[in-house]
């Protein structure tokens, strides 16, 4: 377990910034405690200082997970955000997409969101912008990337993909073994 290097921190913040913009400051600088990012076995964990001090006493081989896993670094040092970060992305998301009840299940199985399943979308969403996907009852389901900008969404045909799937809460069941 070690702190992130500057390059790693930069790539993590860039990725997070795609979804929550400048609200990362609220994650870094919290009024209710000191929280920090730590790297353990290529995975980035967001953890409070109190918990970090306790986790520091666990041997490296025996430590499985700590705090909240935000994502992992791939072999080529690219940062990949995972669904376990959803709890921290959802309240600060800048661009949101609401999905109709009929195609909620489709999204939770890992499929992309089609235009026919699109309920609402934040105005001024640019193409390829990171978005957080909600159900119509405002429950965060996951996040993805907008395949079309808001204006294009209006004109495109119903079978076109509007949001690329990146992570969803169904992964908690599907990828139970690999999530840490």
């Amino acid at each position: 377990m070690r702190p992130l290097t500057e390059a790693e921190t930069r790539s993590v913040f860039e990725k997070l910034g795609k979804y929550i913009g400048e609200n990362i400051q609220l994650l870094v600088d919290r009024p209710d405690g000191t929280y920090c990012f730590r790297l353990h076995r290529d995975r980035v964990y967001y953890i409070s200082e109190k918990l970090l001090k306790v986790a520091a006493s666990v041997p490296r081989d025996n430590l499985v997970s700590l705090g909240t896993c935000f994502g992992k670094f791939t072999k080529t040092q690219k940062f990949r955000l995972s669904v376990t970060a959803l709890d921290f992305l959802a309240p600060y998301a800048k661009f949101k997409v609401w999905v109709k009840p009929g195609s909620e299940q489709s999204f939770l199985y890992g499929n992309h969101v089609l235009k026919s399943g699109l309920g609402r979308i934040t105005e001024n969403t640019a193409q390829y912008q990171g978005v957080v996907v909600y159900s119509m009852a405002d429950i965060p389901l996951g996040f993805g990337v907008a395949a079309k900008s808001t204006q294009e969404c209006r004109k495109v045909d119903p079978m076109a993909i509007v949001v690329f799937h990146q992570a969803d809460v169904g992964e908690y069941v599907r990828n139970e073994d690999t999530l840490t």
């Binding site: 870094v28 000191t34 001090k53 004109k155 495109v156």
Partner: protein, 360 residues
Amino acid sequence: MAAVRVEEVLAAADEQEAEKRRSVTVEKELELEFDLGNLLALDRNPPPAAGLRGAGPRREALLRALARDNAQLLVARLWELPAERAGGAGGPLVAQLPEPTFRLPREKPPPRPRPPTRWEQFARLKGIRRRKKTSLVWDEQAKEWRRRWGYQRAGGDPARAWVAEVPEGADPEEDQFARLRREKRERVARNELNRLRNLARAHRAAATIPAAPLHPTGHQSREELGHVARVARVSTASLGRFQPRLPKEPAEPPSRSGGRKRRFEPLLGNLAAERSRQLEMLRDMGSKKPVLDITRAVNKQLRQEEAEAAAAKGKKKQSQRGKRGRRQQRVGRSGKKSGARRQQQRPASSSTGGGKRKKA
């Protein structure tokens, strides 16, 4: 009067003679030590103490006089050596110098011991030592002592071996002589490869030691140039921190351990400092975003022009077709051109078909 003049002349002549001799004779307390083979003269006389202190022309004059005297003595000794005319009668007079006795220090540093080869490392690990082999071996066939290898070796000349048995389990069609030759060639090649590898390893180990001068242009390797460039960058007063970089050169943070092992921040270091550093990084990242996105502005402009052109064309056609034409027009328009050009449509510019979208 003439006698007086003669005396004066003689005195002047004597004076000149004494002057000449004075310039040639030098008096010293201690004799100098000479090594004529190196053209070396060692003066162990104590220097005139008062004169050499302090700078100034007086010191210069004293030193010059000292040097002149010692050089005079050395040259006088050289003239005593046996000399001959080099190159026949008209050539220059050459003295034959004796062997030098003074041992000069090395000009270049001594050669570094080469690193052990893979076999040497293994042997040292296992404790294998060289066994001295006898140079002659008893040859039963010839009933005499023959050498182990080479001319008239003990086992007979392998080139003249007229039988090569097919070993068990081998293909009967295979040519055994060819096999033996091939295997020998492979052994030789493997040996050569290992030798070159050991050589390369030694060379690489030597190359990592810094302060090696550059090879001439054309013989420089990429690693050598990179290494020298790195050393040159760091050899400034600020240790290379403010050196400008080439356009594509990657920015390297300074590694205090000299590039051997990666060092990370401590796990539970100063968390407040870490937080402030991260906030500063966020501020930098945020400030770098351009306020005016050029491509977006250009696209917007293009879209506007397109929309105006389309509106003008549509109006012309509408006036011709009427109400039905307008409806057909609207349905047909789909976002086929949507792509890189139309990133964000203004609500007023395009006809927003269907109120299915609620603006969040």
